[in-house]
Amino acid sequence: MTAVLAASAVRRRPAVSLGRWLEREGVFSWLMVALPVAFLVALVGYPFFYGIWISLQDRPVAKPGVFVGLDNFINDWHDPVFWQVVVNTFVYTSTATLLKMVGGLGLALVMNQDFRFKNLTRALLLLPFIVPTVLSTIAWQWILDPAFSVINWALMQTGLANPGPSWLGNPYLAMFSLIMVNTWRGLPFYAITLLAGLQTISPELYEAATIDGAGRWGRFRYVTLPLLKPIIFIVTMFSVIFTFSDFQLIYVLTRGGPANATHVFATYAFDVAMGAGQFGQGASIALSMVPPLALIILAMAIYMRPAKS
C-alpha cells in the first residue's frame, strides 16, 4: 500500500514541478530569449566562427583546406597592399563619418525649423537613402566621368578649369570622390534620425535656458547637444560599421583603383577570396576588420556614455 502511494506521488511530482518551473520568471524569460539567440547563432555566429576557422587554413576554392595557424595573417602583415588598404579604410571611414555627422546635424537643425513645404522637403531628403546604391552609383559614374561630367562641364563653361579634374583617375581625387558619394548617400540617415531626436527635446528646457541667459550657441551647447548625445552615438556607431565595410559603391566606381588607391577591406577581401580563389587569405583580410572596429566602437561607447548625474 505504501509502496503504491509512494509510486503515484513520484509519478505526479515531475508534471507539477515542470509547470511551476516553466512559470518561474527566470526560466520563462530565458525561454523567450532562446529562439532569437538560436536564430543569431545560426545566421551570425556560425558564419562568423566558420570565417575564423577558414582564416586559419590554406583553403583554395573547390579544394579541401589545410590548417596553417596564423600564416594567412602573417602574410597580410607582410603584404604592402594590405597596409595600403588599412590606411585607405581609415581615411575613408573617418572622413566620411565626420562629414556625415556634422552635415547631418546641421541638416537636422535646419529641418527642425518651421518653414513652407516642410514635410515635402523632409521626404525628399531621404531620396539618396532610398535609391538602391548600385543605381545611384551608376549615376555618379556619369557625374564623375570627365567626358560627361556635369561638374567638369560647369567648370569649363565658367572658365575655371580646362580640362576639368580627373575625379576617379587621380589617386587623391578618387578617394575624395568616393568619400563625397558615401557622404551623399549616408547623410539622410543621420539627418532624419537626429531630427527625430531633436523633436523629443522639450521646448521648456530651451525656455528655461533662455531665461537663464543662454544665447543661441549656449542653448545648442548646453541643451541640444547633451540631450542628443545618445542618439548621435547610436547613429555614429551604425555609420562607422557600414562605412568601414562598404563594398558596392567602391566596387562599382573604381574596383579599388587607381593602383589600389581606393581599395578597402571589403573590396580587397572579395578580390582575394573570389577572384584569386584564396578563401583562407580572403577570410583573414576580412577578419582583420573586426579588432579595429571593435576598438573604435568600445572607445566611442566610453567617450559618449551619457554622464551620470
Partner: protein, 429 residues
C-alpha cells in the same frame, strides 16, 4: 528571411516532408537517363547568341534526345562567384562556361573531358595551341574550349589619316609617335590602366611580353620581373601614357574606354570587338571610320592576351556522360557553325576548321582577331597554370606596376614593389 517568418509550423513540416520525398525521387532518378541538363553562361554582349542557344540549340537537342537543356544566364561579372558557389556546394547547373585559368582553380570539381576534346579536335581540323593553355590541367582536358574574346587595337581611320597614317603603326614606338601627333590634334589615345579585367590586361601583358619581359619563368618558380626588359617596358608605358593619353585612364574600368571611344573622346584603345559592334548599331557613320588591328610589335615580337570561353562539366552532375554527350553534340559542326555565326566572330573559334569560315567574310575588319590567336597567351605566361597566377591577377600586380609608373613613381620603385608582391605570392605556390 522574410518569407520564413510567414511560414507556420505546419508549412515547415509540409516542406520537410516534400523535401524528403524529393530526395527519394532524386535518388531514384540517378538510375534513369536525366530528363534535363542545365548550362550556365554569362549574359553575352551579343544578345542573339544567348537567344540562339535557348531557341534553336536546346530545342533541337530536346527533339533529338528528349533531354531538355536549360540555359541559365547570369549577369556580367558574376560568373566566377556563381561557379564558386556551385563548386563549393556541389549543386546547381550541370555545365558552365568558364574563363581564364578556372579549369585549374576548379580542377577537382570538373569532369575530365579529354576523350571528347580529342575527338572534337580531330573532327574540327585540330585545336589552336593556345586553346590548350587554359584547359589542360595535369595532362587532362578539364573543359572544352569554345572561343576567344580577343583584345585588339581599335582605332579611328579618319583621324589617323589626318595625322598621316594610312594603316595602323606596326611597332609600339611608331604607335607612340602617332599618338603624340593625334593628341596634339585633339584626339588622344585612351588605354585602360585601372582595375578592370579585360581592357587593362589586354594591352599591358602583351606590352610586357613584347619587350621580352615576364613575371615568372616557365618553371613557375623563378621570379624574373626585375629585369632590364621590364624596365624598358615600364619606361615606354610611362611615356606612352604621358604623351598620348590623359590622367583619367588610370581610374578606368572596362566600360570607360568603350564610352570614351563611342563619344569621340579618344582615337585609339585596346578592346574586344564590342566597340565596332555598338558603333554599327548606334553610330553607323562612325562605324565606317573604325578599324581593328593586331597589337603592335615590340623588340621581342608581337603578343596578345588569351581570353577564352570554355565549357566544363561539374562533377556533381548526376549523369556525367549525358552532359559530355551534350557537349560533344554541341561542338559538332552542324551546331557549332551556326552558333558562331550569330555572334559574327565575337567568339573566335579555337578549331582550325573555322579559319576560313564564312563568318570571317561578314566583317573583314575582324580578321586580325583570328590571326591574333597564334600569339595569344594567358596572363602569367610562360609559367603554367597556378594559384599564384590567379592571385597575381586578383591583386593587379602587373597592372599596378605600370599604373604607378604612369602616376609618377620611379621605374625602380614600381618594379621593386611588383617583385616583392610576386615573391610573396609565388612562395606559397
Amino acid at each position: 528571411m522574410v518569407a520564413h517568418s510567414h511560414q507556420s509550423r505546419r508549412d515547415v513540416l509540409k516542406l520537410t516532408a516534400l523535401g524528403a520525398a524529393g530526395t527519394l525521387l532524386g535518388a531514384a532518378a540517378t538510375q534513369a537517363a536525366p530528363k534535363n541538363l542545365t548550362m550556365m553562361h554569362e549574359s553575352s554582349f551579343v544578345p542573339p547568341y544567348d537567344a540562339f542557344f535557348k531557341n534553336n540549340l536546346a530545342a533541337a537537342y530536346e527533339k533529338a534526345t528528349g533531354i531538355k537543356v536549360n540555359y541559365e544566364v547570369v549577369s556580367v561579372g558574376s560568373l566566377q562567384t556563381r561557379v564558386t558557389t556551385a563548386a563549393e556546394n556541389g549543386s546547381g547547373p550541370d555545365m558552365t562556361a568558364i574563363g581564364f585559368n578556372w579549369a585549374f582553380l576548379f580542377d577537382d570539381k570538373f569532369v575530365d573531358v579529354s576523350d571528347i576534346a580529342v575527338e572534337i579536335g580531330k573532327e574540327g581540323g585540330g585545336w589552336y595551341e593556345s586553346a590548350q593553355e587554359s584547359v589542360v590541367v595535369g595532362g587532362k582536358w578539364k573543359a572544352i574550349p569554345f572561343g576567344n574574346i580577343g583584345q585588339l587595337m581599335n582605332w579611328r581611320t579618319d583621324w589617323f589619316k589626318q595625322a598621316g597614317y594610312d594603316k595602323f603603326p606596326d611597332t609600339w614606338d611608331e604607335l607612340l609617335e602617332a599618338g603624340i601627333k593625334l593628341k596634339k590634334a585633339g584626339h588622344p589615345f585612351g588605354f585602360e590602366l585601372g582595375h578592370g579585367f579585360g581592357d587593362n590586361h589586354g594591352w599591358l601583358y602583351p606590352l610586357l611580353w613584347s619587350y621580352g619581359a615576364r613575371e615568372v619563368e616557365a618553371d613557375g618558380k623563378t621570379i624574373v620581373i626585375d629585369s632590364d626588359e621590364t624596365a624598358r617596358a615600364v619606361d615606354f608605358c610611362r611615356k606612352f601614357f604621358k604623351e598620348t593619353m590623359f590622367e583619367d585612364v588610370l581610374g578606368w574600368t572596362d566600360v570607360n574606354n568603350n564610352k570614351a571611344f563611342l563619344s569621340e573622346q579618344i582615337s585609339c584603345t585596346n578592346n574586344a570587338e564590342s566597340i565596332l559592334w555598338s558603333a554599327k548599331r548606334d553610330f553607323p557613320d562612325m562605324a565606317k571610320v573604325i578599324d581593328q588591328s593586331e597589337n603592335p610589335k615590340g623588340p621581342k615580337g608581337r603578343f596578345h592576351m588569351l581570353n577564352p570561353l570554355c565549357h566544363a562539366v561539374f562533377t556533381h552532375t548526376q549523369d556525367k556522360q549525358a552532359a559530355k554527350d551534350f557537349l560533344r553534340w554541341l561542338m559538332a559542326p552542324k551546331q557549332l557553325g551556326p552558333w558562331y555565326d550569330v555572334a559574327v566572330t565575337y567568339y573566335q573559334p579555337f578549331l582550325h576548321a573555322y579559319d576560313d569560315a564564312p563568318m570571317w567574310k561578314v566583317e573583314p575588319r575582324n580578321l586580325p582577331y583570328r590571326d591574333a590567336l597564334k600569339t595569344a597567351h594567358l596572363p602569367g605566361w610562360p609559367a603554367p597554370l597556378s594559384r599564384a597566377q590567379s592571385e597575381t591577377i586578383a591583386k593587379f600586380v602587373v597592372i599596378d606596376m605600370f599604373a604607378k609608373a604612369c602616376a609618377g613613381k620611379s621605374t625602380k620603385e614600381v618594379i621593386a614593389d611588383a617583385q616583392g608582391q610576386l615573391k610573396q605570392i609565388y612562395k606559397a605556390a
